[in-house]
Symmetry: D2
Subunit: 308 residues, 4 copies
């Protein structure tokens, strides 16, 4: 059922201007994702500012996601926590609320320790009842998992159902993992789609990232999967300036885009995260005009029309 192929947007967590969780915006964003037909969504990832949330807020977000779209797509919940037992507890909470899968990444310890990382995944996989997406994202975690370590973790834990491949260079790592793993596992592209074309070439099964126009990622994957390599490359390249613009640090750029798309009531980022600079706001407007002139971005994008 949950094959982790296609497009699984990572969702921002909407806040009101006073930083309270904005359930209404989350529902609107979820409904939009259902409307464009993505395969699933991930809540409580880095983009979701999970690390700035209390446990009760986490519950509210998961509950909302499951209620709104749980019957129509895969709901993945980020549960990473510096404590192994707390990770398990969050995973159980997510399962009880009806989520379908869990995203797990290890936390950096003072002295890196591969055996401890492997134990972490084994304990989490033993403690929870849902499929696990192993997130390999050293830029945010500080944990560097070599191919042999990931292969061991995957071999030890049948519960691991997908790898979110976010260790650069990602395409060679996907290739190396495909060669090294004891079983065939879907690998999804993250990193805001920056290396999306190269990852697809090496066997990525789709996207699990927060780019504010998931329709573009859908069009990219669809073109690639039906063998139209030229179109795939054209789609990705056309929107690459926007993908690059979103690479600028902080989640404010993406939240502003989601706001302009009518999905978020405000682009508020929780403190101490930074707000969008006026310079970036202006540049974003000009960039949208250049990349998709005249397009109403509050509606699902007609990618073919945009790239002409």
């Amino acid at each position: 059922m949950h094959d982790f192929k296609g497009v699984y947007p990572i969702l921002a967590t909407p806040f009101r201007s006073d930083e309270r969780f904005d359930e209404e915006s989350l529902r609107r964003m979820l409904a939009f994702m259902a409307r464009i037909g993505v395969q699933g969504v991930t809540v409580l990832g880095v983009l979701g500012e999970a690390n700035r949330m209390g446990d009760r807020e986490r519950e509210a977000i998961v509950r909302t996601a499951v209620e709104e779209v749980g019957s129509r797509m895969t709901v993945i919940v980020g549960i990473s926590h510096p404590g192994t037992r707390a990770t398990v507890d969050l995973g159980r909470m997510a399962a009880e609320l009806g989520a379908h899968a869990l995203m797990v990444t290890p936390s950096a310890e003072p002295a890196p320790n591969d055996a401890r990382v492997a134990e972490y995944f084994s304990r989490v996989c033993e403690g929870v009842s849902l499929p696990v997406v192993l997130q390999d994202h050293p830029a945010s975690t500080g944990v560097h998992m070599g191919v042999p370590l990931i292969a061991k973790i995957v071999a030890d834990n049948p519960r691991i159902a997908c790898i979110k491949a976010e260790a650069v260079p990602s395409a060679p790592k996907i290739a190396a993992l495909k060669a090294a793993l004891s079983r065939d596992l879907p690998m999804l592209t993250g990193l805001g789609a920056l290396y999306g074309q190269f990852d697809l070439e090496q066997g990525s099964s789709g996207y699990n990232t927060g780019f504010a126009f998931p329709e573009v990622l859908q069009a990219h994957v669809a073109a690639w999967q039906r063998g139209d390599k030229s179109l795939a490359r054209r789609v990705w390249t056309h929107f690459l300036p926007l993908i690059v613009f979103e690479q600028q640090p902080g989640v404010a750029v993406r939240k502003e885009l989601l706001r302009r798309r009518g999905l978020l009531a405000t682009g508020t980022v929780r403190h101490p995260g930074g707000a969008l600079s006026p310079v970036s706001a202006t540049q974003l407007g000009e960039l949208l005009d250049a990349v998709m002139p005249g397009v109403d971005i509050t509606q699902p994008l007609d990618v073919a029309a945009v790239i002409g």
Copy 2:
């Protein structure tokens, strides 16, 4: 009332062998602290493995501490969280449960930003109703707060009532802060008492650290305060091998000592924290024999007798 002078042990969080919170051991440890007459305790610090705890567990720990000793000493609660709003929420929880003070330290952001750190403290101080201990501990947080930044934070926020001075070299920093702050503020020594003698010389008002023999810290402060510098130095030096032994990374050494003192049922550390190595366990026994031969460490220490 809460003058932050004297000895305020940082408490370990007791766990059963399956890593569940062990309330009984926490009560026993609290009762012991009351028995030896410390001025307060801090729960949910680094030694308390606060970062490996869920929010409901945090509540249980605070509730237990307040119930057991809240009427007899100052109960300080660590509330630091990567999200400012979540820090405030934890502070309100602690206040509602009857705690007396809060310990707050900033979290590292990808790009260090003094203004953001100052805002963090201002927002927290505005959002909570209790005195705040500003913890300056770059080794655990990765946040380096210069003297001018701390001076600004203290000037901006009357709620700040104490500084836990754990930025090395700590003694010169205490001196520099005393010269720079706009008001007189008690400063407590941390870092496992490693630089305790030097901090006292520069005006530390006591200890706020997790050394497993707080009686020693009481004797050290008492001797210093009544002007017996020679005795103070003798007390500290006698136990310095033990203080140094505890500097080894991880909280396992301290938990083992607390277990041997009869305060914890087990020395269990939550995964992924490391357990005590057999080598360290053996060395610890020999060290205790050398530092305080024949002493029953389950009883409050007669420091004068030990140092002879």
Copy 3:
């Protein structure tokens, strides 16, 4: 004379397969840069693997660059060193050998200290006789210089003649620096041109980066400077997949491109730097075919022809 406007490629250091410095390839690369008419070159930057070089090798590289193109363009030499005095010594060596400017970036110290960073620049500027390019690249240095600190350094040191703006988000930082600096200073774009379009929009005066097709950067700047914003955007976007491909970590990708361009005899990277993976080599070929089909990349690129 040296106005730091235009395109100043950062040069790779060529090595033979046994890692010895390959002077012949360096001369060939320098001659190529002269042929396409860049305004200057930088040797001994990060891409130049300066940190893997001994001092005598550094001298040989500077000598070669000055000899080959010193009369035709600005030769900038990277001199950053963890020791301030050693930085000055390298700067004097470069001046004696006839270089025209120096690139300087601070090194991370255990505790960040803005005053120390400002001193570093002042001592270097007092100790050397050439214009200084202040490089602001926290990703490689770990030193985060806020706008006020850079403004102070620039005000204190008239010798600083240019800023290499590589702190993300770079475009807002360029804008903020332009507003904050006490004098007008050219700012050059680095980071492999990833944010080149956005930087130009905020007043970047050109490029100082290692993208293997500097002709593209020349075309980008030229179009922008004559007001053809649409063409500028088109040039940058067309080559953006290649720019992104080069963002993958390590210098091996760029060295391989320079090898394919006929400029380097080998793509050898000095140990412990990593070699190019076969996967990346294959992908690079496909990417070149897609971005500039049929083009002989050993010749200067006709950018207008490539983008059609």
Copy 4:
């Protein structure tokens, strides 16, 4: 001949007040070491501010050490460099100048890679002609070498003759290495002697560290080796306040002590290293008075007399 048993002080590099290398002070310090009869010295370690030195200065320091004491004790030269080939070049320089052994530690790369670290040691060991001391000091290098990795490096490279064990907790690591290594290898204690007693208990063969009173370390090792455990412990404990005082960051404390001992003309630290604070200078004086009242520290210490 070079058995790496006993005491091998790490030497500070003396500078004049203008930061120029002070050869005369280095000779005086070396002569003092010969006078007290240490087994060897290490130049160009972290304490020697090796990273703030140019290559010609490094040569001058090695030359001076070999000339002054090379016939009387083992001269070890720190040669670590971010580039493997440059490390080898420094090692050859040291050998040509007559040094007896090399101290090598790996540099941190953006993504930790055990295989690359092993290669680093193999290439260095193949490229040089002297015995190698493998320094395991993650606090300064950021490289965490697990026991299996070190065991592999030692098995692969017969040239490795000693391990400088500075990864905390050091005593358990020494024990683990002794159990894991394929051959018996001396292990020396570093870290300023902080854990010296515990390391000796686990089989450390002596000291290779910069404590400013190497006579104390000699007395400690001597007492331990002749089985007088009680005296060994007493020696170490008596001076532990001084050992702890020296743990404060920066090399300024040690250089000041060496200056007070009459060995260095000035306590100058190279920028950007920090100078001694007046607070620390005052505390140091009081501490010396307390630890060894009335003792002339410019003369070799009579440790037995000091501890009474």
